[in-house]
Every structure is written in C-alpha cells, then in structure tokens.
C-alpha cells in the first residue's frame, strides 16, 4: 500500500515536511488488494472530506462525466474525525445506492463532531457513465484523518467494492 505523503503535525519523532503538492486540493486512489483506497487532500479538514468523496465517485466513474443536476443533503456525526470520515463516506454510498445517483461535487461543513454536506450529481446512466463497479461500503482499514506539517489536511480510507 502507498502511505500518505503527509505526516501529522503532532508527529515530532520523525517530522517530514509535506510535499508541496499535498497542500493542493486534490484526490487520489491507493491500492488495497481486491479493493481500493480513497484519499483526499485540502486546505481544511472539510475540503479533505470533500476530496475523499470525489475519489469515491472516481471508483465508479470519471467524475467529469457526471452532470451537476440535483442536490442531496447529508448529515452525520461521530465521536472522532476518523469515524466521522467513515460515516460521511458511508452516507454518500447509501445515497448513491438508494437514489441510483452519482455525484460530481461535494460541499462539507464541519461543526465539532457534526457534518453537514451537500452532494450534487445526477442519476446513473450506464451508457454515459460506464460505471465500473458499485461501492459496498467504507471500511476502517487504512482510515486516517490528519493534519500535515504544512497545515493542509488528509482524509483517507479503503472502500469495499
């Protein structure tokens, strides 16, 4: 498995500066055997959560193919940041499944242990989206929410497909 190119700000034992690219708002996938890891970076924790959700969409299809037509409000809460990330991604997965939608854009607001999110997207079109695989759930494997040494945030976990 790739390790995140970021170390927590509090890790003083082996401090490494986060690479410049880590401060950008972006997402990527990382390998996990039969399944796939989703990882988001952003200038804030909320932005990193948004990017991790975008990485989730990208497991299924190219997010740029998804039109921003309808919005869905999502709220969730959990006792710590990592559980909150898993809860957020699982809430998105449930909405994708129940509404048969794909999402191209996410907005997240965090207030303590509570998350309010808006997901924007459209109904799945097999022809246009060529959806590769459905996501069954977000796991607690390689689950991390951390602040990097440059102040940016990383949010990642493995999803079961």
């Amino acid at each position: 498995m790739n390790t995140a190119s970021c170390v927590p700000a509090g890790d003083v034992a082996h401090p490494r500066p986060a690479p410049a690219i880590a401060s950008a708002t972006r997402w990527e996938h990382f390998d996990h055997g039969a399944d796939i890891g989703v990882r988001g970076w952003g200038p804030s924790k909320a932005a990193a959560f948004e990017q991790a959700a975008l990485a989730l969409t990208a497991v299924v299809t190219d997010p740029s193919r998804v039109a921003q037509r309808d919005t869905v409000n999502i709220v969730c809460e959990a006792d710590d940041d990592e559980l909150l990330l898993a809860a957020w991604l699982n809430a998105v997965i449930t909405e994708m499944s129940v509404r048969r939608m794909l999402f191209a854009r996410f907005q997240v607001e965090l207030r303590g242990r509570q998350l309010s999110g808006v997901a924007t997207g459209e109904r799945v079109s097999p022809l246009r989206h060529q959806p590769a695989v459905e996501v069954k759930g977000a796991t607690y494997t390689a689950l991390r929410v951390e602040r990097c040494t440059d102040g940016s945030w990383l949010a990642q976990t493995v999803v079961d497909v």
Binding site: G33, T61, T94, P126, P131, A132, T139, Y140
Partner: protein
C-alpha cells in the same frame, strides 16, 4: 509473507504457535509459493483474530487469502458463546452471504454454439446487471419481511424456482432465526429495487463447459460429465447486506470498549455473542443471508426463462448453492465431543464431507459440492468436501482466486474492448454495461485459480471434481 516466521507442518500447512495475547495458533493452508505470495497483512490479521475472546482451536487461513478488513479474506474462525465468544461484522464482510450457485442444463457445447451470441444477448437483457440497474420485483413491507425470514424458500413459494432447488441450497434455502425487525429502514430502502439483480465488480453470470473431470465417481454424483454445459451465478445480498454490514461494523467499532474488548485493530470490531448487539447482528445478518439466497433463487428463475426461450430442451436442476461470507451456528467435533460453534467464513466456503447429515440424500456419499469461481477467461472449479476437512478447518475450503493486481494496475494494462476481443478469440462471449469494468476485471488481474484449488486439494480441505471454462460471461 515471510515464511521463516512460520512452522511447516506439511506440504500445504503452516503454523504460527500461540504466543503473546494469541489464545490459539494460526494455521495457514497453501503451497510455499502461495503463502509467500500472501501479503504480510494476512499474517497480522490472522494473528489478531487468534487473540479474540472465545476463539476455538485455531485462526485458519485458506490458500486464496488476502488482506481484508480486520479478518483476512480467506479467514475461518469459530467462537463458543459459552466461553465469551464473539461475533464480528468484519468477519462476515459487507456482502453478507455472497456466494455461488451452479445450475446443470443437460446441454452440450454443440447445443450452445449455434445460439451463443443470441443466448448471451438474451441473458444480458433478461438479468439486470451493473451499477444502478433495477430489478422488476418491488416488495411491500410485508413481502420484504417474508423474504427476509424465508430466503430462497420464500422465492420458491412465489414461483421463482422449483421445490427441488431448496435441498440443493445451504440451510435448505432458509436460515432460521433471522430477525427482520433488526434490519434498518435504510437497508430495506437500499434493497427496494435490487431484488433479482446481479450487481457488479467480480459478480457474474456465466455459461460454462466442463473441460476436465478429476473424480469420475463424484462428478457422476454431481451430474457433471465432460463437455456438459452449466450455468454459474456469483452474487450476494445486494444493497441490503451492504447496509447491514456498514451499520453493524460502526456499532461494533463504537461499542467495543464498553464490552471490555481490547482490540489491536479497530476493524476487528465485534460483540460478545451473548450481548444485545451480538444478538441483533446475528438476527439482521441471518436476514441478509436469506436476502442473498432469495436473490440467487430469483436470478435462477430469470436464467431458466431465458434458456426456455433460446434453448428449450435445456433442463436446469440446481447442483448446489454455497455462500462464502457468513457466520453460522454449526455443530463440530472438538477433542472428542460435539460443540455448538459460531463459524465465521470470510471469503471461505463451507465444505461438509461425505455422510454429513445436512447434505441432501443424493449428495451425501460424495460430499458437499464446493463451487470455486474464476474470472471470465480463467476457469472455475467444482470440488467436494472431505471427511478430514472437519478436523483441518471446521469443514472449510477456499472460495476463489483473488486478485493479483489492483483495479488501477489492471486499467493500466488493459482496455475493455481489447479484453472482450481477446476472449472472443478464445470462444468466450462477454456482455457488460461497462468497458472500464471489463478492464478492471481482466482475467490477467487475478491469481492462478488452479494453484489455489490444487493447494486446497493437496491440503485435504476439498477434493477436485471438475474444471469448467466460460463460454458466455455476463458482467455488471
């Protein structure tokens, strides 16, 4: 995996003696090559499982094991409720009761070849597959309850199948003590349009030809002959099972400390079998097993309708239906006495040996059919449970090949169209909604299923009966 850390106990058996907080040893089945090829995380996860309360005998690892969630995929572990044993949602997985069923057809390859493309198109049309696909069946609240309690038996009662199918399905098509009341509204909602759908990813519907027989006697008992055509369906409990897995994994993660469980890995989250949460999970998980059994039964009916239309002379009895993501209460011999144990099989197949009372009369002498799915170009196998498997690993065997390459790596190697063309050149017709999905599932992205099956045979977990090659493959 570093095999210098393991004690070799046979050509296909490796042990990690109990040490530290391990309550039992770890037993890994596989050839040197297969075990060396396993991720180090498999060892770590199997050792963690060996430390769970109430685990009995050993934490087992099948020859196709890979890194999972808390439990390794390909992990088998049994727990005794009377000794503080636990049940783990991660030890079952998100796709509760994902499994394989095999239908005989009474046809030979020559019956299929003239209609191969037509049959592929009709199966693709008749069996909803892929992300966002919808089944034709809508269940109201009462029907949903009855399905969750009744499983494949409920489906047969509604004319989606034949009465004889039930004795060829684990638990006779209906796991008892399911508690639909513990299935959340969200899980039901997620299932509302998914009854009778195949799903996506590594799930498939294949028409296959028997290309090799390893045990003539057992093959005859299973109704398999050289050149015979069969239909293999690989699918699980769809959105309902995924939601139950999601919800209970979170509940178990959040309440582990309250139950006094010291877990080295959050993902090992579990609950004591005697606790309220443990009982609620068992009730909901059993309902999800019934959902998977009902779903595969409905898919069977849809497949039979297509064959009746395209190849009317087909006669399609069920050979058997196995589940490979479950926790089941089973009776096993331990140290000369029978004990009732909750056996987790995460990516592992139950493999009862000859004479087992749970097997239908016609299969009792040969042992339980163990169905091992390959992927598109790679073969599938039918094995039979052995008598010695009971002592080796609570009558368990492998479940498939497992990936050798991530989905990303596969995308870098192949394009969907190229995979479809390559397979067509081998006489395999593929139909799928997603070109990218085909590339991610390319046969070359999977391990050699033959090596896994050979290891299971050599270890005595199950005996090889027949090899099958795909002729038509429907992917989600």
């Amino acid at each position: 995996m570093d095999i210098t850390q393991l004690v070799k106990r046979g050509p296909c058996e490796w042990h990690i003696p109990a040490q530290g907080n391990m309550r039992v040893p770890v037993v890994i089945f596989g050839t040197r090559d297969l075990v060396q090829g396993m991720d180090e995380k498999v060892r770590e996860q199997a050792v963690n499982v060996a430390a769970l309360p109430g685990i009995v005998q050993a934490s087992y690892v099948m020859p196709d094991a890979h890194w999972g969630y808390g439990f390794p995929i390909g992990g088998v572990a049994a727990f005794d409720a009377a000794e503080g044993g636990v049940v783990s949602a991660g030890g079952v997985g998100f796709d509760v009761s994902c499994g394989v069923r095999c239908l005989l057809t009474g046809l030979k390859l020559d019956d299929i070849l003239p209609v191969q493309r037509k049959l592929a198109d009709a199966l693709f049309e008749g069996v909803p597959a892929g992300v966002g696909s919808r089944g034709a069946i809508r269940l109201n609240d009462q029907q949903m309850h009855d399905m969750l309690a009744g499983g494949a038996r409920w489906a047969v009662d509604h004319d989606w199948g034949m009465r004889e199918d039930l004795e060829r399905t684990e638990e006779r098509g209906q796991v008892l003590h399911a508690k639909p009341a513990y299935v959340s509204e969200l899980a039901r909602k997620r299932q509302r349009e998914e009854m009778g759908t195949l799903g996506s990813g590594n799930h498939y519907l294949e028409v296959q030809e028997v290309t090799e027989i390893f045990s003539a006697g057992k093959a005859q008992a299973f109704g398999l002959g050289l050149g015979d055509i069969v239909v293999m369906i690989h699918c699980g409990s769809r959105g309902l099972g995924h939601q139950i897995g999601t919800e209970f994994m979170r509940l178990m993660v959040e309440s582990a400390a309250a139950y006094g469980l010291q877990l080295p890995d959050r993902e090992l989250a579990c609950a004591p079998l005697g606790s309220e949460l443990g009982q609620r999970y068992l009730g909901a998980m059993r309902a999800a097993i019934n959902c998977a059994l009902a779903n595969r039964q409905i898919l069977t009916h849809l497949v039979r309708l297509v064959f009746a239309d395209i190849v009317p002379k087909a006669r399609m009895p069920l050979l058997y239906d196995v589940s490979h993501n479950t926790c089941k209460l089973e009776s096993h011999w331990i140290g000369g006495r029978r004990r009732e144990l909750f056996v987790h099989r995460k990516g592992a197949t139950r493999a009862f040996g000859p004479g087992h009372s749970d097997l239908p009369e016609a299969l009792r002498a040969a042992g339980q059919p163990v169905l091992i799915g390959g992927s598109m170009g790679t073969g599938s196998y039918v094995l039979a449970g052995t008598g010695e498997s009971e002592a080796l690993a609570f009558s368990s065997a492998c479940h498939g090949a497992g990936r050798s390459m991530s989905r990303h790596q596969a995308l870098r190697h192949w394009q969907g169209r190229q995979v479809v063309d390559d397979l067509a050149a081998q006489g395999i017709t593929v139909r799928s909604v997603s070109s990218r999905g085909i590339a991610e599932e390319a046969p070359g992205a999977y391990k050699d299923v033959a090596a896994v099956v050979d290891a299971a045979d050599q270890a005595g977990l199950a005996r090889k009966v027949a090899r099958l090659r795909p002729v038509i493959c429907i992917k989600g």
